[in-house]
Point group: C2
Chain length 451, copies 2
């Protein structure tokens, strides 16, 4: 909640006090987890022969969390929290100012602490550094496995992107509806689709932040977006993306809500849910058949650009561009592969942070054939590295792959899914591809070594 507030509500002058609050809470949580009697309590629980598989899995999850936590001193946890808040705060100014140099001292401090934390976990988990960092976001994930997937993808993508662009060139050029689109109307439109998809406003909110995200707790899910008065599709797709995250959180098993096994199953699964809604469901012809008249009416639009076919071409338009969160489904993986490669170089010590902008621009040129004109459209665009989330990015593309497979499987199980979506009925899609997933919590993954 404090994180949500920090991004969506807090005035800039509150950040010092907030950093202290977050630092104190993280330190307390760390101390409670690593309390002296915890191992005995766990042993006693393990000795109970009446436990069901959820309970056993839960204990296993606690042990894993504890193992990581005991590797860290309270002072390291505090220092990391402080450095991460300080660097994120700096990023908020550095991004609009296009000033990477200004953030470098904070980023170096933060990365040192991220590395120290990762190494401490790596030692107890018997992993190498990058794997240990990845493990926080993708439990059980390994860099070597991701490399296989990403190498495959980066070998396939350039030619495929070329084919897509060629195919696209034979079709009418999508026309962008002309703004300005008042923020209020964009909100109305976003909330309309959120409700249709099943977002419950008695248990959540929609607000504005610089970097859209989904936060809060399952009973009170807070999502954010950012509005562009010239382009209503950007905020809308952001809202639909975060709605996917929100539905997943909201659907986590209620009876395990306060236990590790009831939490989300890592970030790639989380991302599979947001992309299921954004990319699979809400960029489909079926969705636009239902949604385009509503978009047209809410925005008071008229003319051929509001036809379903045009909007579909607009929503599925492929164009190599600079911003990851605005990227289409085809070029998106290139953005992630770039970040994963840079993370590998930085974490292994082969790339210094001061050289990151250059490496970024070179990578964009190699993967997508374009060079960002500045760091605002380059390495400053995402908050992740600046709030300490190194090792996070691959989960986006792992999530995209999972989303496509989930939606494909759902359509095979129920052939009426697309017909229903075109009528604005998302029940079947949500039940088969989203609820089934969220109701597992982290049970599937964590249980795999038990049975």
């Amino acid at each position: 909640m404090l994180h949500w507030d920090m991004s969506a509500m807090m005035p800039s002058g509150g950040y010092e006090a907030r950093t202290e609050q977050l630092t104190a809470l993280n330190a307390i949580a760390h101390n409670q987890l690593t309390a002296k009697d915890m191992p005995d309590l766990l042993d006693a629980a393990d000795a109970d022969t009446s436990l069901n598989s959820w309970q056993m899995t839960n204990l296993k999850e606690i042990r894993q969390t504890l193992l990581k936590a005991t590797a860290l001193s309270e002072s390291l946890v505090e220092a990391l929290t402080r450095a991460s808040a300080a660097c994120e705060e700096k990023w908020r100014a550095a991004r609009p100012d296009n000033d990477y140099a200004s953030i470098l001292p904070e980023l170096n401090t933060l990365l040192d602490l991220v590395r120290e934390t990762g190494q401490a976990k790596a030692d107890v988990l018997g992993l190498d550094l990058h794997d240990a960092m990845l493990d926080d976001f993708e439990p059980g994930g390994r860099v070597a496995e991701i490399d296989i997937l990403f190498d495959d993808l980066s070998a396939f993508l350039p030619e495929f992107i070329g084919q897509v662009l060629e195919h696209q060139a034979s079709k009418p050029v999508p026309i962008m509806p002309k703004g300005p689109f008042p923020i209020e109307k964009q909100q109305t439109l976003g909330k309309h689709f959120m409700k249709t998809l099943g977002f419950d406003f008695d248990h959540g909110r929609l607000d504005v932040s610089l970097h859209p995200f989904c936060g809060g707790v399952p009973d009170d899910v807070r999502i954010t977006t950012r509005y562009d008065e010239e382009d209503f599709t950007s905020a809308l797709m952001g809202i639909l993306h975060e709605t996917g995250h929100a539905l997943y959180e909201r659907g986590l098993p209620k009876e395990w809500r306060t236990q590790p096994v009831g939490q989300s199953l890592g970030m790639s699964t989380h991302e599979s849910q947001s992309l299921l809604i954004e990319m699979q469901v809400c960029r489909s012809a079926a969705f636009l058949e239902y949604a385009s008249p509503i978009m047209k009416e809410t925005m008071g639009g008229s003319g051929p650009m509001w036809e379903t076919d045009n909007l579909l071409r607009l929503y599925s338009n492929v164009k190599p561009d600079f911003i990851r969160v605005d990227a289409d489904e085809v070029t998106y993986p290139a953005h992630v592969i770039l970040r994963h490669r840079i993370e590998k170089s930085v974490i292994s010590g082969n790339l210094l942070l001061q050289d990151l902008p250059g490496a970024w621009n070179d990578g964009m040129e190699e993967l997508l054939g374009i060079t960002p004109p500045d760091d605002r459209l380059g390495c400053l665009q995402d908050v992740h590295w600046y709030d300490g989330a190194w090792g996070y990015f691959p989960t986006y593309t792992l999530g995209a792959m999972t989303a496509a497979q989930l939606y494909h499987a759902a359509k095979q199980q129920d052939s009426s899914i697309e017909a229903e979506i075109s009528k604005g009925n998302f029940c079947a899609a949500i039940n088969l591809a989203s609820k089934k997933c969220s109701q597992q919590g982290s049970f599937c993954y964590a249980a795999r070594d038990i049975d």
Copy 2:
């Protein structure tokens, strides 16, 4: 921050999760304060002969807080937090529904816990129950002293109110500017005066809640109001009131911010600061000379009702009415005396909660000659009793008395104060009557037995 969010942002379905969060945090804070090594640490600190008077006062404050805290078990703290959140949540529906009966079970549970908590503190402090409850809001305050003041006041008030009403009748009847006044314009107006008074929006926010309040931390002060489209004066005066609280919080000594001696000096001092701004400064002829053209322009008003004289008559109009927060300076104490008398009866066991609405209405008739038509305008109007704040109300009138004395003293020290206010310059008033006060933290009070 979580309390602010609960009132200003949280969707209704979040309250169970929020209750658990607040309960956990209160229990943790309680456990940290009452940790086993605390007495030894305090003894060691006391033995340090180099302490200055702020440090000594700080230690004294910690001992007092610890004394009260050790009187309470963790389970009692948890139960009270839970009951208070549950009852407040219920109140949010009971008030608009005008349904006192619906809240009675939660209120009875809450009062039992408030009483148990108060009695535990009373035992260690050597006070009787009501004094111990009062002490949480007015450190060192005693019911017997308040009774002397309030008896004096209630003997004086009825005749005085009569005189005021008679005098008022000889003047033109104030005319209420006609709405509707769009909420956006009211916000603009409120924020304008907040800024002029010195509220720093880099260190605070203005939002909306059912019951206006000031929350947050000194570096990030959150105030709220509620808007009435037919009457812009109500939200505006609420905003100015909370701005007074905010300026006090913001002005607390920075070097003692995380220590008890750096906290506010009880609720009557806090209230003296809000009433200094609302009642003393912002209902004065000087203020309206400056403010009325701005009000007129922002609201796009015209006609005689926007003249300074009329607005002054409106702002200083005396009328016995039902709602405390909307009451004028003259009838306000009657609202507080009523609540103080009811608290005495309830706490002593002479009045059962089920009979509270009747006692309320009888008291209103006796003190102000009017009977509320329903409990919404009667005993359901204020949140305090429903979130566990029994013993709080007298601080409003103690604060009003303090505010009048502070402003009087300030005007004696600097005779140009009112002339400056009429030009929109509040520096002298704020410096002499507000900053001097806030910069003391709770030092004055707590130090009085030391030197």
